[in-house]
Structures are given as structure tokens and as C-alpha cells.
Amino acid sequence: MNLNHLKREIVNATQAAHTGHVPSALSVLDIIYVMYHNAMQSDDRFVLSKGHAALALYAVLADIGVISHEAFMAFGTRDSICGGHPDSVTIPSVEFSTGSLGHGLGMAAGLAIGLHGPRVFCLIGDGEMQEGATLEALRLVGSMALPVTVILDNNATHPCRGAVDIFQAYGFTTVECNGHNHDALTQCLEYRSGPLAVIANTIKGNGIARMMAEPAAWHSRAPTAPEAAEMIAELTP
């Protein structure tokens, strides 16, 4: 399934606000979409530990009606509920205000313990696997056998080396898939018998040629109006 309609929204919101991490949002958009449409059951929770991918979360939440389209398009404005990183205080469905890398998984683990039953899904970036706090949390999730699913957004340009070995060493059932294939993601996310790690291999900037070619340059660069128009055209069938 093609999410170009959501990618166009992301480009528009970023261009209007002159701010936003578009390539990071594009690498996780499919994952978050599958999360909210297929993977999560009614009491489950989702933590976006890779907070700078916020635009992808807002796009999906707006698409399913949790936030209004207007709120999403007001991204990055003075009193917006949609800041550069998601804020749990302004958007109730956002479990935690993330943005500093490495905090989300520990918080997700605590949430899982406190909820006594539902599964907590936590999306982390390959960069977060460099943070010691992430590894601390992996150890705790694994040793306590918590109902936590970690999805690793593993960008092709700088994937986490040894990710399979790391997760397995910490006691996670570990699977790997194409992070842009909804069927593959859905199947991987079905496992619910203990700690699960889904290594989702992704492309930073997926869907926009200029961003895929130079992901680092576009990491936090908002497209100008002419650039955005080009990108919208590319994303329009």
C-alpha cells in the first residue's frame, strides 16, 4: 500500500513551518501506519522513542482522526499541539514527550509493567542503539520478559551493526523484514509471547528521490516552496 497521500501532507506541513525532520519521518511512516492499522490491539500502546520522526506520527494520527487535519497542518507554529517532537501533554495519545534519544524504551518498559497485560510497542532508531540508556532498557525488558515489542528503524545508510546478535543476547525473539512492506511488518508484529525485536530495514527519505540521494543534507532541512512543489509532484500519481 502506497502512503503517498500522507507523504504529501508531511511535505506541506514542513514547508509551511520551515522546520521538520522529513527523511526520518519517511523512513518510519509505513511502520507507524501498520502499527495503528494492523498491529496494535485495543489496549496496546505505542511509544515513538525516535521522536524526531514526529511528522509521521502526526500524519497517521490525523489520518485516523485522533488529531484534526488542521492541527497537523499547524505543525511547528507557536501554540501548535504538534511540535517538532511529540508532546504527551498536548496530545493524549502520545504516550511520552520524546526527542532526546534513548529514553523511550525505558519508559515503554515501565508502562508495560504498570499496565499489567497490554503490549507496548516502541519504535527506536538505529542511532538510539548507540545510547547506553537504550541498552540498559533492552536488558531490563529481556530479563523481566516484558510484553514489549521493539521495532528498530534500521536505515540502510547507517544500520545498527550486529543488531540481530544484540537483541538476541538480551533475550528478545528477533525477526527482520523490509520496513516499507506492510504485509511483512504485519506478519512480524504478530508475535506476542514475550519480548520481540523487529529489525525493520528502511530507507531514509523513502519516496522522495532527492532525500534518498542525500539523506544527511535533508535530515532537518525543510523544503522551500518550489522544492516542495517538485516533491509533491513526485508523490502524485
Binding site: 501533554v89 536488558r139 531490563l140
Partner: protein, 290 residues
Amino acid sequence: MRAQFAKTITDLCEHNDRVILLYGDVGGWAFRNVPRAINCGISEQAMVSMAGGLAKAGMIPVVYTIAPFLAERAFEQIKVNAYNNLPVIYVTVGASYDYGTMGATHHCPADIATLYNVPGLGLLCPGAPMEADAMLRQAVDSGAAWYMRLSIERGGRDYGDVLQIGRAIVYQSGSIAAAIIAVGNSIAQVTQAVRDMPEMTVIYLPTVRPLDTETIRSQCAGKPVLLIEPFYTTLYADIAACGVGNIIGLSPRREFIRHYGTQRQMTKASGIYYADIRSALWAIYPVMTA
């Protein structure tokens, strides 16, 4: 105070399903009877984040370790929990120099000054075991986030029966126009320093934040004040804003103490021993007898 904390947290967990203790692989034996406790191991940052997650799920997490490993090592996690409005209670031991033979990695004279910079985090410094008990119970009932600093240094009288978070205690209200403000467990050394001076007003502040500005104003307005803090100075500006007179501050110098000794010896080395307080009193009470 640590032994009392173990008793109190056991009791709280037994009677309140929402309370849960997390500790960083310290004090385990004391917590053997706590019905709901997680030893998070030597992972303080994840422990603090986990506490945030537990609070999000509606639990009342109490996090326990040695002061520097919480306030310094996991400072950012504490900040993020506060940013998320998560009511977590942080309790530490060690205070400034209780671990007197362990070197500065185990000292934390900076905890209050550092955590002062986390918006919304209350700061508690009980001076005696039942005060710690009262403060922890009130903190659990409050729905707010607190940092409580336990120490082996303790005062004479235990105010646990009357203590209210956020309220100063008037240790003695004197006749002269001078006052001592004893923050936290500096009350121990202060009460020794003034044991023959009933004319000196002494205000005891077991709560650092929120500050009881009303009591400070009513007891100390216009009077020269000796401000004793058992940690790197934090409250000078806030006390000054209460309309007191000249303030002389006594607190540990911002220097690593590279000597080793008992907690008593370290208190002397850090310059807030009762003899130091006695000497400093000259500055606000020049006519006192030696």
C-alpha cells in the same frame, strides 16, 4: 533515616497497590519485605525512565539509589519525566558526604542545586527518620514529583509528628533581631551551635522547594540572617527575595574533598560544623558572648 525509609516503603506498598519501589542494586537486603519492588540493577538511567513509564500507567513509583547516581547520572531522565508531568518520587542516600571514605564519585553536594533546575520537582530534606516517613507519605498522597535526600546526619528533635511538606518549622523564636535559617539536616549542627542562645531565632526548612516564604518573611523580615545549607548553595536568591536583611551564607565550598573520614569528619571538612556556624554568627550577632 535509611532504615526508616525501608520500613515506610514496606508499609506503603502493603497498604497502597499503586506504590512500587525501584532501586538500583543498593540496599537490597533492607527491601527484602517490600511487596512490590524491582531491582533495576546498575542501570540508573533506564530505572528513572521506567519509573516515568510506571507513573504514566497510574502507579506511584519510588526510585532509590545513592544521590550522585540519581541526581547526576540520571539527571536528563529526571528532566524528561518532569517534562512529561509524571509524578515520580526520587529518594536518595549519601547526601553530600555521608560516604566519607569513598571519594567524590560517591559524594553529592550538588544534588539539590542540580535538581533545582528541573521545573516542577519538589525538593525535600528531612532532618530525622520520622520526618522522612512523614514526607514520603505526604509525597505519595500529593500526586506530584519529589526528590527527597536522606542522610545519616540527623537533628536532635524529630518533627515527624507535626511536619508538613512545604511548611517551615520555627525551632525557636528569639528576642533579638537576627535569625538562622537551617536548611535540611543542617539543623543538627545549628541546634548544637545555639544551644545556649534562646534569644536567636532559628527557622528549620525541611522543604527546600516549595519554599515557605510566608514563615521566612514573618520571622526574618529585615533581620540579618545566617543561611546554613548542607549542600552547594541554592537558596540564597530565594531567601533574599523574602525581604530579609543581610544574608551570610554557610555551605560546602564547590571543591572536591579528597580527604577520607567519617561523615562527622567530612562535615567538619566542608565547613558547616557547629563550630563554623558559631563563628559565623558574629557576622549577624556581634554582641553575643563567645
